[in-house]
């Protein structure tokens, strides 16, 4: 499969207590397990991102349990209230057990 590359948009700066919007996208086929191979007629086994989590300074802030009905290249947008400067860590878990993660820093105040 093509290299999985997570893309995340987090504002670089925010005021303390501001509610920011985070947008995330990861390229993944999200094979639903319902499609059939056109040549062989066999069902292509399910392979999806089944879990997405967002942590801020090690504390979980948002997560999603994902099922096959989420589109290919799963996109999640959500909000977080940032109390202080810190680092967001985003993790995606694949059905095959591999995880993809990325980090983003945010500066609060000043």
């Amino acid at each position: 499969m093509a290299k999985v590359k997570p893309r995340v948009k987090v504002p670089r700066k925010a005021e303390a207590g501001e509610v920011i919007t985070i947008k995330t996208l990861i390229n993944h086929k999200m094979e639903s397990g319902f499609r059939k191979d056109k040549k062989t007629g066999e069902v292509i086994p399910q392979k999806i991102i089944n879990k997405f989590t967002a942590e801020f300074n090690g504390k979980p802030v948002f997560s999603a349990d994902v099922r096959p009905a989420v589109s290919a290249n799963p996109y999640f947008q959500f909000k977080v209230k940032v109390p202080e400067s810190g680092t967001f860590k985003f993790t995606w878990v694949d059905d095959d057990g591999s995880t993809y993660s990325t980090e983003k820093k945010i500066k609060v105040g000043g």
């Binding site: 319902f34 504390k59 948002f62 999603a64 096959p68 009905a69 989420v70 589109s71 947008q77």
Partner: protein
């Protein structure tokens, strides 16, 4: 490592067994669990009232492969009073479950957007679980021109 004929046959048989078992198990879940069952499992039998949560979807989705869906739950999102999780379902898909979103008191606002697959024209349902144990639900009908679950 060299694979003997015997081993190759054994592997083939094993793989076939998995392939046969897979589809047998999958439809049982798909048919056994309807959207109503999924809501009951999520709420533990409690009634989901309408209000507080608002779901937004396009009225007509030309391509069922990627339908933008977002929701917003009215809540102060404090430690004592916040939205714990939101279950999103599509009642006409082979499997109704779409995703469950978990929020925390750091979420600020209980809203999220994603893109989902819809096999045909159907209802998209969102159920929010509040920290006080109450549930709120919203439903939107989405007309789908081209289904998105493959076939």
């Amino acid at each position: 490592m060299r694979v003997t004929r015997r081993q190759a046959l054994g592997l083939g048989a094993g793989a076939t067994a998995v392939l046969i078992a897979g589809p047998l198990v999958a439809p049982a879940i798909a048919k056994g669990q309807t959207a109503d069952d999924a809501i009951k499992a999520f709420t533990g039998g409690a009634e989901a009232k309408s209000g507080k949560i608002s779901l937004s979807t396009p009225e007509i989705a030309e391509n069922g492969n990627t339908v933008p869906v977002s929701f917003d739950v009215e809540s102060p999102m404090t430690t004592d009073n916040h939205v714990q999780s939101v279950l999103v379902l599509a009642d006409g898909n082979p499997r109704p479950g779409v995703a469950t979103f978990h929020f925390s008191d750091m979420s600020g606002e209980a809203s999220a957007s994603t893109r989902i697959r819809l096999a045909k024209t159907q209802n998209v349902i969102a159920v929010a679980k509040m920290s006080d144990g109450s549930y709120f639900m919203d439903k939107r009908l989405v007309k789908v021109t081209i289904g998105g679950c493959g076939g």
